[in-house]
């Protein structure tokens, strides 16, 4: 096996893992954006349908939606260039873990969100770890 072939294989691996990570992150961002938009447009409906804690409060659910939307927007550089923009990705993965804990602590319908955040956080951490390793291995 030549060096060129070896480097080509590792670069290919890195590209594959980059695609996997971007797909996972893309899915997470789409879900987050849709949830945020629902929270902004139909806060009372969401609060009732998702059994969010407390009396339905349109203003605060909307604010939650806005925060989710902004977070998704700030995460975008990490999706556009996952290797080069490492900071948003690392912060984003940690943020999903933090949200999972927070949602779980807040209880009621938010526990389903906690479960989702936990699954996404693990998937992102796993796929991003593999991507970073593969990227490092692809460098001569």
């Amino acid at each position: 096996m030549t060096d060129a072939l070896s480097i080509g294989w590792t670069a290919g691996q890195a590209a594959t893992r980059r695609t996997v990570y971007r797909r996972v992150l893309g899915f997470a961002l789409i879900v987050q954006t849709v949830l945020a938009l629902i929270a902004i447009v139909a806060p009372i409906w969401l609060a009732r349908a998702a059994e969010l804690p407390g009396a339905p409060s349109a203003g605060w659910v909307r604010l939650w939606g806005l925060m989710l939307l902004i977070t998704a927007a700030l995460y975008l550089p990490g999706w556009i260039e996952p290797v080069y923009s490492r900071v948003p990705n690392v912060i984003g993965i940690l943020a999903h873990f933090v949200l999972a804990v927070a949602y779980f602590g807040l209880g009621q319908g938010l526990r389903w969100f906690a479960l989702y955040e936990l699954v996404i956080a693990i998937a992102l951490a796993w796929s991003y770890g593999r991507l970073v390793c593969a990227e490092l291995m692809s460098r001569p």
């Binding site: 804690p53 407390g54 009396a55 409060s57 203003g59 605060w60 659910v61 909307r62 604010l63 939650w64 806005l66 925060m67 989710l68 939307l69 902004i70 977070t71 927007a73 700030l74 995460y75 975008l76 550089p77 556009i80 260039e81 290797v83 080069y84 923009s85 490492r86 900071v87 948003p88 912060i91 984003g92 943020a95 933090v98 949200l99 927070a102 807040l106």
Partner: protein, 618 residues
């Protein structure tokens, strides 16, 4: 891998400023988040936004704020290396700015908070990148930056004004207090600055019917309240720029009664107001505004007697608020000029819809007279159990309680930008379950039992809770009572209200036109006098007499109950002379007719007496 596109030592000054601003934004966000997570209720109260229940929602919001702040770090480290992060950092600040500006009101400080960081960041980022493109040391993009800065300052000033003028309404723990003193969304549109409001009776005392301040118009004060400075029932005191006094539903729906002249009066929330002369109050305000004494020189000392005024307050009142209030009150006088050609309402009466028709709905004066007695609004759930949907107002012009509550608030001056559905829903919930107070009268038990039989035979069909015509509209041709209130509500008014879209789509669809009056259930009858829709018959005993035998004139607005005849004590009077107390009501005037409703008038004297005994128990 990440390599900075520019080293900090060679970066343009604008980019350095951008980085510092982003760091300042991150630190500010996190500081606000930490304080808000620990003291959420205190922060909400400090900013003046609606309290959140439960507090986990503001806590969650600020936790997300802290998390998203960390996403700004790449932009703060190197905006050239992390171009997308730098752009998104600015975009997200503007998203916050726009979101909170749209929400408006007390949330505008949040908009300004984001804007204070977002606008300079955008300008610095633009300038920095322009200069990097043009070469270090070259001034590029300055005109755009100057224009952006001017726009930013303009936006800041506009938002600050919006925030200053956003209503800060008082909140009440109990639904009853909310009903009596809460805002219905008319404070900014029709409220009178509080210091001016308390000063007007002193400056314009000669326009008061009696030297009692606003109590001269029958406004009700709870025990322990000082009529010179405290709010009467039916007035909200909310801050829209300055504190303002404006009416709410309770002004027309709270009564005062006592069992004997020397007895302590009691207040009854939800009852038809019996003492309040809303037209007299309104005319007093207009007359005072038109008076030569309505000047800053007279008003400011009278205001300072009752309220602490700073030099700035005095300046603002002298040059801004007093002239504006005067102008508005005179406009109101002109808008109500049509009432000068109709009979005076008097205490406990109102023309509730013509002001709406000729004002809010912009219909032409059609010459109709809608003067009618104020109505009790308790037991509304029970009302809907009798008949659903249940007709509301004397002629049953709407059968949706939601629409009735909202349209009543609009009629009292509420406007879209101040209107709060939750506040209205709270009033509706309160009215649905508030019971009518039990009668204090104790007539002879045997007579009551006999009267029950007479009632079932002669009145029950329309007034018993299970009566087959109870809460239906009885045609005027059948009931025979004064037709004017029914004629007042026209097809044009119905259509105009159902199509009313001022400020928002209010969703009205249940206004309709009837040609009669609703047969009302009799709960709280003891507190509902005078009787009939226009309050033209002073007592239940008089109502059982044929119309020619009923009093042609009597005094309205007294609060002493008549335990023998039902209703309130109402001595006869001469309309040419003002009585010492109350208002002389003349049934011979148009719209005040006391004819019709002859049911029970042909009963024998014994039957009438028994029936009256039974009616006194309601």
């Amino acid at each position: 891998m990440s390599t900075p596109a520019t080293t900090h030592s060679t970066e343009p000054g604008a980019l350095r400023w951008y980085r510092w601003l982003v760091w300042a934004g991150i630190v500010s966000n996190i500081a606000v988040s930490i304080v808000s997570i620990i003291y959420p209720a205190e922060v909400l109260a400090f900013v003046g936004v609606d309290p959140a229940t439960p507090l986990i929602w503001p806590r969650l919001a600020v936790m997300l704020l802290a998390l998203l702040s960390i996403f700004y770090i790449p932009a703060a480290l190197d905006p050239c290396a992390h171009r997308f992060s730098a752009i998104f950092a600015v975009v997200c600040r503007f998203a916050g700015t726009i979101f909170f500006a749209i929400v408006g009101g007390r949330y505008i400080p949040f908009s300004l908070f984001d804007f204070v960081f977002g606008a300079p960041q955008a300008i610095c980022l633009y300038l920095g990148w322009q200069r990097m493109k043009a070469g270090a040391g070259v001034s590029a993009g300055r005109p755009v930056a100057v224009l952006a800065s001017l726009l930013a300052v303009a936006f800041f000033l506009w938002s600050s004004f919006q925030w200053f003028m956003a209503p800060v309404v008082p909140t009440f723990a109990s639904d009853e207090e909310h009903f009596k003193y809460g805002s219905i969304g008319n404070d900014g549109a029709s409220g009178i600055p509080y210091p001016l409001w308390v000063a007007m009776p002193a400056v314009c005392a000669h326009h008061l019917p009696r030297p009692q301040g606003y109590a001269a118009f029958g406004l009700l004060y709870e025990p322990g309240r000082n009529p010179a400075v405290d709010s009467p029932i039916g007035f909200s005191r909310a801050k829209v720029g300055v504190e303002r006094m404006s009416i709410n539903c309770a002004v027309c729906h709270t009564a005062r009664a006592r069992l004997a002249p020397g007895a302590e009066p009691r207040l009854y929330t939800g009852a038809a107001a019996n003492t309040v002369d809303i037209q007299g109050y309104q005319r007093f305000l207009s007359r005072c505004a038109a008076d030569d004494r309505f000047t800053a020189d007279n008003l400011i000392p009278a205001m300072a007697d009752k309220v602490k005024l700073s030099w700035l307050d005095r300046l603002v009142y002298r040059f801004v608020l007093i002239p504006i209030v005067r102008k508005r009150l005179l406009e109101q006088r002109d808008a109500f000029a049509w009432t000068n050609n109709r009979p005076t309402w008097g205490p406990g009466r109102i023309d509730p819809f013509n002001p709406v028709k000729f004002g809010m709905l912009r219909l032409a004066d059609d010459g109709t007279i809608g003067n009618s007695d104020m109505q009790a609004i308790w037991n509304l759930n029970a009302r809907e159990r009798i008949r659903s949907p249940s007709p509301f107002h004397w002629d049953g012009l709407n059968d949706s309680l939601r629409e009735v509550v909202i349209s009543s608030a609009l009629g009292d001056g509420a406007v879209a930008k101040e209107f709060s559905y939750p506040a209205m829903e709270r009033i509706e919930r309160f009215l649905r379950t508030m019971p009518a107070p039990p009668s204090p009268h104790r007539p002879d038990a045997a007579a009551v039992e006999r009267g029950k039989v007479v009632f079932a035979a002669n009145c029950g069909e329309c007034h018993a809770s299970g009566g087959k015509r109870t809460l239906t509209v009885i045609p005027v041709s059948e009931v025979g009572t004064d037709v004017h209130r029914s004629q007042m509500w026209t097809e044009a008014a119905r259509d105009a209200y159902n199509n009313y879209r001022e400020g928002r789509d209010w969703g009205f669809k249940s206004f309709h036109k009837n040609t009669g009056y609703v047969a009302e259930p009799l709960d709280g009858l003891w507190l509902n006098g005078p009787y009939l829709h226009n309050g033209s018959v002073p007592s239940l005993r008089d109502l059982l007499e044929s119309p020619p035998q009923r009093p042609a004139t009597f005094v309205r607005g007294l609060d002493v109950l008549d335990g023998r005849n039902g209703g309130f004590v109402a001595p006869s009077c001469d309309p040419r002379q003002d009585p010492a107390e109350g208002f002389c009501f003349d049934t011979r005037l148009v719209g005040n007719g006391n004819g019709g409703h002859v049911y029970g008038t042909s009963l024998s004297a014994t039957e009438k007496s028994d029936l009256l005994a039974y009616l006194l128990t309601f």
